[in-house]
Subunit: 228 residues, 2 copies
DNA sequence: CAGTGGTCTAGACCACTCT
DNA sequence: GAGTGGTCTAGACCACTGG
């Protein structure tokens, strides 16, 4: 056996083929590729799997088959816009959870007709009397909390990691389960340090770039330590 | 065929088993699980694959086999520390590329004896005469550029997305190829807008949380637009 | 109906690592 | 040497979709 796995050789060849095809071009069927490359269909599928996870190919059941994914479809979302709840949304759902004390506001983020993310916020019902009745689902959540309940938010330090889409999330994002997603979460406090909002955003990793801010100058306190 | 794939049933059962085992416990071999569950080894492997990608299991070649991954092993890295190059590093390599005009500084980020990321920076050699000789590999890169070449950096807007580890990266990070990683990139300009630094950081998604800053108050200009 | 991707099987050989 | 995970094959059946 060669040092380079055959499925990786296949992936490289498929990538070459892919890069020369226009968006939405039908891709050769798996069985055809298997015969063409002299490999088993299983091996070809392993290569295709990775290309699908990277968002370079789209697979559909039935006669449609595999096709080249539309490129240049990377949506830039700013962290600030996510936090402020300014991204384009649809299907906003407000639920109460448990002993009616927790409010959950969940919305699907849409860009260019595609669902690209889910934003979910948890609030304490006792802190926001009448929320479910007063809240206009089209309004930015944070602005509403600020205007209606006079919340003044303090510093915010979201954290970000990767995850694999659960079956429920995969359904909402129209991707396969176990697709890699970007997971961003934060806890918001008011100026007195009282917890106000617990939020969580999941973005399709193959369709979004999250833009952020970074300190441009080294603060002395940071320079002395190893890490934050 | 049932509506729920067998490999997903296997995954659920394995997750139950997993949750009751302490960290680093040896996990049953694949062939044993296949017989126990009455499934083929291929199907069991598909379930195990996802658990490995989620960082819940660790697989090693040879007699060691599969074991329960150490939990609570999430390392918090701040975006600012990454940008300033303050994270703990090792094996810093300085290369020149092409017609000797591009300098590449690449380092492996280490936390708790594990490689958790790779930081790669590209500079123009003509802009930094003598860089390779002068640069102390242990020093924070940005501080060095600032001290030695009087660079003053302007605003910075890194962007972040998910990717799958290439074979080379996978080797450096000690993970399997196609493991989901967090990819953070930025272009740094000086105060006059001249491009200075092009950097790229890849972090193991299953071992790191990236912490960031977000604007705590809605700036008027942001509130009026849909997105940034 | 034919052809596609999705899943699953039984078996094989390899590289690696511990004993 | 024995047992592990990593890869690969050839073949099978299913669900779904279009003509």
């Amino acid at each position: 056996m060669s040092a380079i796995p055959r499925y990786y050789q296949a992936k490289t060849r498929l990538l070459d083929l892919l890069s020369e095809l226009p968006d939405n071009t039908p891709f050769p069927p798996e069985r055809e590729l298997a015969e063409l490359f002299g490999m088993s269909r299983t091996t070809i599928r392993k290569a295709l799997d990775e290309l699908v996870l990277e968002g370079k190919l789209i697979r559909r059941a039935g006669r449609q088959g595999t096709s080249v994914a539309p490129r240049k479809q990377v949506h830039r979302l700013s962290l600030d816009a996510l936090v402020q709840d300014l991204a384009t949304r649809e299907s906003v759902v407000v639920r109460t959870i448990g002993a009616q004390d927790v409010i959950n506001v969940e919305s699907v983020l849409i860009r260019g007709d595609e669902p690209i993310g889910v934003r979910s916020t948890y609030l304490r019902a006792s802190q926001f009397p009448g929320f479910a009745e007063l809240y206009d689902r089209g309004a930015p959540l944070r602005k509403f909390l600020s205007d209606r309940y006079q919340i003044r938010f303090g510093e915010l330090h979201p954290w970000c990691t990767t995850a694999l889409a659960t079956p429920r999330l995969a359904g909402m994002l129209e991707v396969r389960p176990a697709t890699p997603v970007l997971s961003i979460a934060w806890m918001a406090h008011d100026l007195r340090g009282v917890p106000v909002e617990r939020s969580w955003v999941v973005l399709r990793g193959d369709r979004t770039h999250l833009t952020m801010h970074a300190a441009s100058v080294t603060p002395p306190v940071l320079a002395g330590r190893a890490l934050g």
